[in-house]
C-alpha cells in the first residue's frame, strides 16, 4: 500500500454514489447478522419459552451460565478442546512442515498437498460419521491397537466417560492438521535460505535453526493457524452433534450444542441467548489478542 493508493480514487464518488455500492451488502448484514446479534443480547435478559410471554430477569441468565454445572462445563469443554483442535495441529504441523521443507517441491509433496487438503473440503458431518465408525468398539483404531499388542486399552472411545472428549478432539485435530501444515509450509518457502546457510556456518543444529529462524519468521502464519483453530474449537458443533451429541453424560457438551438444545428442545431461549453472548465474547476475546500479537511482529 504505497502512499499514492491512500488517496481517494475519484473524489466525487466518495459520497452518495459510493454509498449506493455499500448499501446492499450492509442491508443483508444488518438484517441477518446485526439484528440477530442485538436480539441475542435482548433475549438473554429475559426468561422466555419461545411461545408465551417473557419476563425480565436482568443478568440472572448470565449468573446461571457460570454457576449451573452443566452450562459451565460446556464452556470448560470448549476450552479443553483448544488443546486438541489448536495445539496439536499447530505444534505437529510445525514439526512436520519443518521436516518436509526440503522436499517441498518434490512430486510426493505435490500429491500430499492434495491429500492433506481433503479434510478441509468434505463436510464436517461426513468426517464425524467416518470417525465415529473408526473409534467404535469394533472399529479400525481398536483393531490397530490389538495388532500392536495394546488389546487391553481397546474400548468404545466415544462412549467412554474418560476418553470421549479427547476422542472428539482427535477428530478436530485430523480435520485441521493438514490445513495448518500447508499454511506453515507455504510460509516457510518465503524464508530467505541465506538465513539458514548463515546459521549452519555458525554451527547451529537443526533444533537451534528451528527455534531461532523458522518459528520467528512464521509469526504471522502461526497466528493465523492459532486463530482459525481456536475459533473452530470454541464454536465446534457439527462434529460433536454427529459423533456424541454431547455425551456420554455431559462429557463432550460444548456451548454451540448446548445453545441448540436449550433453544430448540428445552425451550429456554433466555438461557440459550446468554450462553450465546458468552460464546461470542469468548471468541472475540481469544481472536483479538492473537491478531495484535501477529501485527506487532510485523512492525
Amino acid at each position: 500500500m504505497g502512499p499514492s493508493h491512500r488517496r481517494p480514487a475519484v473524489a466525487k464518488l466518495r459520497g452518495l454514489t459510493g454509498w449506493l455500492f455499500v448499501a446492499p451488502a450492509l442491508a443483508f448484514y444488518a438484517v441477518f447478522v446485526l439484528r440477530p446479534i442485538t436480539l441475542t443480547f435482548q433475549y438473554s435478559l429475559y426468561d422466555w419459552d419461545g411461545i408465551g410471554p417473557s419476563t425480565w430477569v436482568g443478568p440472572a441468565n448470565y449468573g446461571k451460565v457460570f454457576t449451573d454445572p452443566d452450562l459451565f462445563e460446556s464452556l470448560v469443554n470448549a476450552v479443553k478442546l483448544i488443546v486438541f483442535f489448536s495445539a496439536i495441529p499447530v505444534v505437529l504441523g510445525l514439526a512436520i512442515a519443518a521436516t518436509i521443507r526440503r522436499i517441498a517441491a518434490s512430486r510426493l509433496a505435490l500429491i500430499a498437498r492434495t491429500v492433506l487438503f481433503l479434510p478441509q473440503v468434505i463436510p464436517l458431518v461426513a468426517a464425524g460419521i467416518a470417525w465415529s465408525w473408526l473409534l467404535a468398539s469394533t472399529g479400525v483404531i481398536n483393531q490397530l491397537l490389538s495388532l500392536v499388542g495394546l488389546g487391553g486399552v481397546t474400548r468404545a472411545w466415544l462412549g467412554d466417560f474418560a476418553t470421549a472428549l479427547p476422542a472428539v478432539g482427535l477428530i478436530g485435530a485430523w480435520v485441521l492438521l493438514g490445513l495448518c501444515t500447508l499454511l506453515l509450509l507455504a510460509g516457510m518457502s518465503k524464508i530467505d535460505p541465506a538465513l539458514y546457510e548463515a546459521a549452519r556456518l555458525d554451527g547451529a543444529g537443526a533444533w537451534r535453526e528451528f527455534v531461532s529462524i523458522t518459528v520467528p519468521s512464521l509469526r504471522q502464519e502461526i497466528a493465523v493457524c492459532v486463530t482459525v483453530t481456536v475459533i473452530a474449537a470454541l464454536a465446534s458443533f457439527d462434529i460433536i452433534y454427529i459423533s456424541t451429541q454431547g455425551g456420554p453424560g455431559n462429557t463432550t457438551m460444548v456451548p454451540g450444542l448446548q445453545i441448540f438444545y436449550l433453544a430448540f428442545s428445552e425451550r429456554e431461549v433466555g438461557m440459550a441467548s446468554a450462553l450465546a453472548v458468552v460464546l461470542m465474547v469468548l471468541v472475540i476475546a481469544c481472536a483479538l489478542p492473537i491478531q495484535w500479537f501477529a501485527k506487532d511482529g510485523n512492525k
Partner: protein, 274 residues
C-alpha cells in the same frame, strides 16, 4: 551430505504417514460400505462378497438426485449474490474510499469471527416471522448476510491495491461509476473473485447448523444437513450409512480434484486473510 539425504528420507516417511492417517477414514468408509447391509463389520476387512449394490441403494435411500438439486439451488442463490454485493462494497470501501468507509469496514470485520451459534436462536424466530421456515430461502438469505464480512474483507483487500489513476482516466473518458466498476474493475478483480467463489461454494455446500435448525425437510437442505438426517434415519445400518456418506461427500471431492490448484490457493489465502 549424508545428513541431508537422511532428512529427506525422514521427510518422505513422515509425509506418507500423514497421508495414510488422512486417508484412513475414507478407506474405512469405503470398505465398510461394501459389507452386507445391516451387518457390523469388524475393523478394516475386505468382505467376502463386495456388495456394490449398497451404493445404488444408498443413492435411492438418501434421495441423492433431489439432494444434489437442492444443494445446487442453494449454492446458486448464495454465491452469485454474495460475490456481487461483496465486490461492490469492497470496491466502494477499498477503492472509492467512501466517507465513513472505515467505520463500516470495522463493523464488517467484527462479524468475521462470529460463531453462527451466537445468532441462531433469534434467526430462527426472524425467519419464522418472515414465513420462510422450511424453504430454501431460510438458508440462502441468512448465509448471504453471514458471508458478507468475509466477502467484503476479501474484496476490499484486492481493491485497496488498485491504483487510483486507473479510475481517474476512465472517468475522464466519460465512464459513469457503474461502467467503471463493471468494465474496468470487475475484470481486473477476477482472480480474487474466483477464489472467493470457491470458498463460498464450499462453505455453503457444507453448511450444517442453519440447515438443521431452519429446514425440517432434508430434501430442501444442503448436502451436509441432509447427511445429518440420513444418519438419524439409517444410523443402525452401518454399511448403508457409510455408502451414503461416501456418496454425499463425492460432489465436493470431485469438484475439488478438478479445481484443486485453485482450491488450495483459495483456502490458503482465505485463512491468511481471514
Amino acid at each position: 551430505m549424508i545428513t541431508a539425504s537422511r532428512e529427506a528420507w525422514t521427510g518422505r516417511l513422515l509425509l506418507i504417514l500423514m497421508m495414510a492417517v488422512t486417508l484412513l477414514p475414507f478407506l474405512s468408509l469405503f470398505v465398510t460400505a461394501l459389507h452386507p447391509s445391516g451387518s457390523y463389520p469388524a475393523g478394516l476387512a475386505w468382505p467376502d462378497e463386495p456388495q456394490w449394490g449398497n451404493f445404488p441403494r444408498a443413492f435411492e435411500a438418501a434421495k441423492m438426485g433431489e439432494l444434489l438439486k437442492s444443494s445446487a439451488l442453494i449454492v446458486l442463490g448464495v454465491v452469485p449474490i454474495s460475490i456481487l454485493l461483496g465486490t461492490m462494497a469492497g470496491f466502494a470501501i477499498g477503492h472509492l474510499r467512501v466517507i465513513g468507509g472505515r467505520v463500516i469496514f470495522l463493523l464488517f470485520v467484527l462479524g468475521l469471527t462470529l460463531p453462527f451459534e451466537g445468532i441462531i436462536t433469534p434467526l430462527y424466530y426472524q425467519i419464522r416471522d418472515m414465513g420462510l421456515l422450511n424453504t430454501r430461502w431460510a438458508i440462502i438469505l441468512p448465509l448471504i448476510g453471514l458471508f458478507m464480512p468475509f466477502s467484503v474483507f476479501w474484496m476490499r483487500a484486492h481493491f485497496v491495491n488498485m491504483p487510483g489513476e486507473l479510475s481517474e482516466s476512465a472517468r475522464m473518458d466519460g465512464a459513469n461509476v457503474w461502467q467503471l466498476f463493471r468494465r474496468i474493475h470487475v475484470p481486473l478483480a477476477m482472480p480474487a473473485i474466483s477464489s472467493l467463489g470457491i470458498l463460498l461454494f464450499l462453505w455453503t455446500w457444507n453448511q450444517f447448523l442453519l440447515a438443521i435448525v431452519l429446514v425440517d425437510d432434508p430434501t430442501k437442505r444442503t448436502m451436509s444437513g441432509a447427511l445429518g438426517a440420513f444418519q438419524g434415519q439409517w444410523g443402525t445400518d452401518i454399511p448403508l450409512l457409510c455408502a451414503g456418506s461416501l456418496l454425499i461427500l463425492t460432489p465436493t471431492l470431485v469438484i475439488f480434484l478438478i479445481f484443486q490448484r485453485h482450491f488450495v490457493k483459495a483456502l490458503l489465502q482465505g485463512s491468511l486473510k481471514g
